[in-house]
Structures are given as C-alpha cells and as structure tokens.
Amino acid sequence: MSILVYTETDNGKFKKNAFEVASYAKNIADQMGESVTALAINAENADELGTYGVSKVLGISNDSLKGFNAKAYASAIAQAAEMEGSKVIIVSSSADSKYLSGILAARLNAGYVPNVVAAPEGISPFMVKRTAFSNKGFAHTEISSEVKIIGVSNNAFGLVENTTDAVVEPFDPSINDNDFGVKSVEVDKVVGKATIADADIVVSAGRGLKGPENWGMIEELADILGAATACSKPVSDLGWRPHGEHVGQTGKPVASNLYIAIGISGAIQHLAGVSASKTKVVINNDPEAPFFKAADYGIVGDAFEVVPELIEKLKEFKAQNA
C-alpha cells in the first residue's frame, strides 16, 4: 500500500503544486507508516519528486495524453491506485485537478474533499480541514469511504523537503477511445506569465482604475514582482480586462502568498474569493473602503500616485537585493 499523488506538469515540467501535493502526501504517509508513490504523465525529470519524499514514480509516457483530458487522466490515476492498492489519493486544487476528481471519485467509489488547508487532523477516523462558504468558514470533514481523495489548496501546506531516492518505473495504463469523447481543439494560454492559480503574488485592480488604458502601471507592477494580474468583477464585466482575470466568489479563487488590491472596494463577494491569501495589501483613496478591514497593510491614497511610486521603490529594492 502507498499514498498515491497525482503530480501535474506543464510542458513536461512539474508545476509548483506537484511538489506541494507530494509534500502533503509524505506527511500522511509518515502518519500512516506508508510510502508515497507519484503518478507523473509525460514528465521530463520524474526523479525530481524524490526531493519531496516520493519514493516511487509511475511515469507515463504516452502521446495521446500530451494535452490534459479529464476522463483519460482520471482513468490513469484510477488504474495506478488499483495497482498500488492506494487508499489515499492526493491531488491539487487546480482547475484541471478539480475537473478530474469528480470523475475519479465516482470511479473509485471514493469520498472526495477539495480545498483542504492542513494535514489530516486524524487518520482514524480520517478528518481534514477545508474551506467552505467561499472562505467565510472552515469545515472539519470526516471521510468514511475506504478510498479517499484529498484536494489540497494552493499554498496551504507549502513545500517540505524530505529527500528520498525516487525510483522511476514506466507505467502504461490502458486508455481507450471512449476516454476521448471530449476533444481539445485549441488551447489559448498566456505563456511566460504567472497564472492566478500558481502565482505567489497576485496584483489585482478594480473599478478605481477608471479605465482599461490605465492598466499599464498594474502590469508593470506585476512584472517587477513576477506576479499574476487579476481584477474585480465589474472590471471584467465592463470588458476592461479578460474574464479569466476576474477573482472572487464567482470568479477565480486566489490563495497567493501576497495579494495586492488596488482601487478595489472589498465587497463581500470579492473578499470571499481572495481571503485565503496570506498577506493582503490594499491601496484605496477611500479610508472607509471595506477592504481595509480585511487587509494586513494599507495605504490610503490615490492609486495613480501610489502605484508609480511603489514601482520605483520596488526597483530600488530589487537592485539592492539582486
């Protein structure tokens, strides 16, 4: 028996969340006296996972699985779990992992708990802590099925090194045509830029920016910080920014280490989706803006003066700390 972890890749390279889920799996494996087996699909350096406590990697090398396909990937994970006799499966909380987890749960008759923010509180009974009510609460959830699937929230557990020699074994699950009823025609993805889901830092701006023509300074700030850019809902509704940048309760969730909100009021629906971020900074000219109550650091001031100044100060900081 081993704990199985599904490790995501992007163009053959492991995503940061792959190392995070591996770290999480190692924590459970130690509590249960087991080892960690990872499933890696078309990964270039599968042995990298050893750094985070994985002792065996089932490496799939299969051209038909080059692009993500939820059903086919779920099928591969299910077959790996059955082969390894794994009763606990760890996945991330990325859009792709959430997509495949429901399919996987039905296939393995497993209880699935997404948005988990901490190592299990108990193994028997098996209890995990997760966010609920769009981050306005937490639930302590028991999983009673024999097979359990846990979706770990981004940045919730962090990376824990536990260097082990990872043995990489080829794995060739049977994938059939029926798995490809949904075909990817085209992927339109920004390359070379941090995404909201993966970024350590997210720079977000709202209607206070007045118009799309003013986003240059937001992008410059994000560039310096290696951050992803995001926006409030009205900004994407107005077409100032693409829909994919809308964060909040009905948009993308943000669980970054640092979230900088510029010209965003901090309505309850916005806060619900971003409050899982560790450190929150708000820049707003209205001292009564509700965001100040939810933030760790704040500047009451005009974004059009504060942001250029912040860019200058960050350039100086970078030069000194290079």
Partner: protein
Amino acid sequence: MKILVCISNVPDTTSKINFTDDDTKFDTNGVQFVINPNDEFGLTRAMWFKEKQGATVHVATVGDASVEPTIRKALAIGADEGIRINAAPKDGFFVARQLAEIVKNGGYDLIIAGRESIDYNGGMVPGIMASLLDMNFVNTCIDLEVDGTEATAQREIDGGKEKISTSLPLIIGGQKGLVEESDLRIPNMRGIMMARKKALNIVDPIDAPSPTNDKKFERPAAKGPVKLVDAGNVGELVNLLHNEAKAL
C-alpha cells in the same frame, strides 16, 4: 433537445456565515436562499437554447420543501417543469447520485450544472454524475453551442481558455461567461403567475452513500487591525513586506 438544469439552493452571496448547535450546523437564521450563481448562468443559457433552438427545460434540486421557492423562481424565469428530490443534500456524492437517477430516467440530451455551489464549494456533482452515467463532461464551461448532436464549448483553464469539441448527451459544469451578466433574468409578473401552474414533481430519493460528513464548522480567526502606511512613504510598505510579512 431536452435539457436538465441542476440547481443548488444556496445562501445569498452577502450572507453572514454563522453556525449553531455547538458549531455543527450552518445557521440558516435570517439567511436568504437563492439560485446558486453558477447555476443561474446555466439556467439562462438553457433559456437561450429554448428560445433560439427549441428545447424543453427541466430543473432539479435535491432538498426538502424549503427549496421550493428557489425551484419556483427557476420556473418563473422560464423552465418548463421542476423536480425536487425529497432529501437533505448530505454531500456531493449523495447529491450527484440522486441527480444521476433523474437523468437516467429522463432521457436528457444536455445536463447543465454549476461548476460549484457557493456554500460547500465541493465542485464534484457534475463530474460524479458524468462518470456514473458515462457521459461527456466539460467543466468550468464558459461557452456552449449545440448543433444537432455536436457541441462546441470553451472552458476556463488556469491562465487561459480551451476550445473543446464533443457530442450530446453532455454534462457541463458551468459558470459566468455562459451568458453575459446583463442577460441574467429577473422573473416578471407574468412568469411568476405562469410558474404557479407548472408541474413541480416531488421524487423520492434513492439509497445512496454519503462518504463525507462535516463534523464541525469554524469561522476564520478574527484579524488584527490593518497596518497603515503613509502615502508619502511608500518605501515603508516595501520594507514591511520584506522584513515583517516575509512576502518579498
């Protein structure tokens, strides 16, 4: 085309979240329940199919009698028939099993669910249903066109979007983007009157497991006050983020 829209009855987005019974239950006191926002986009897209391409639209919810105003609202918006599966929604697995049973017996071509409901945020119902029914499934769906039995969809992915081709019968997990926010509908008087006459079928639940169980809830810890930095001293913010928050 026969469409089923799965609707979750959730606390309104502005609801304050509290718990009762020693933090073991969600406190519904004073909470207004609404159609889950992700499902509302799906319902409106279903209305579009009905009006533009011809479709019959049913809505289904798992819940006790208290969810009926939400189903009536969907009927007032234009759905043809409502189905209430008479059971407390225990967990995502349980709900998906109940809905899958409705799909199995209803001969639907398209099943529209939300990406997730904004109360428990499980996001597993459409995927479990798709797997149980062995149907094609597109999650985080932001655009859907149907031509005969062929469908093209777009889904939101981390950092962009993906165009997909697939075929009916199909299940989607939908969200904002399926229709514009400005196209969402508020029931008018005529719709409300008509909804009263539409069928709201009450169905007994099937026996289904609920492998997860929320034992206890907790509210996030109270936050300390914000640390304000003078607008004339922006460098201090960089300093605090580096030395105190360790965020740079």
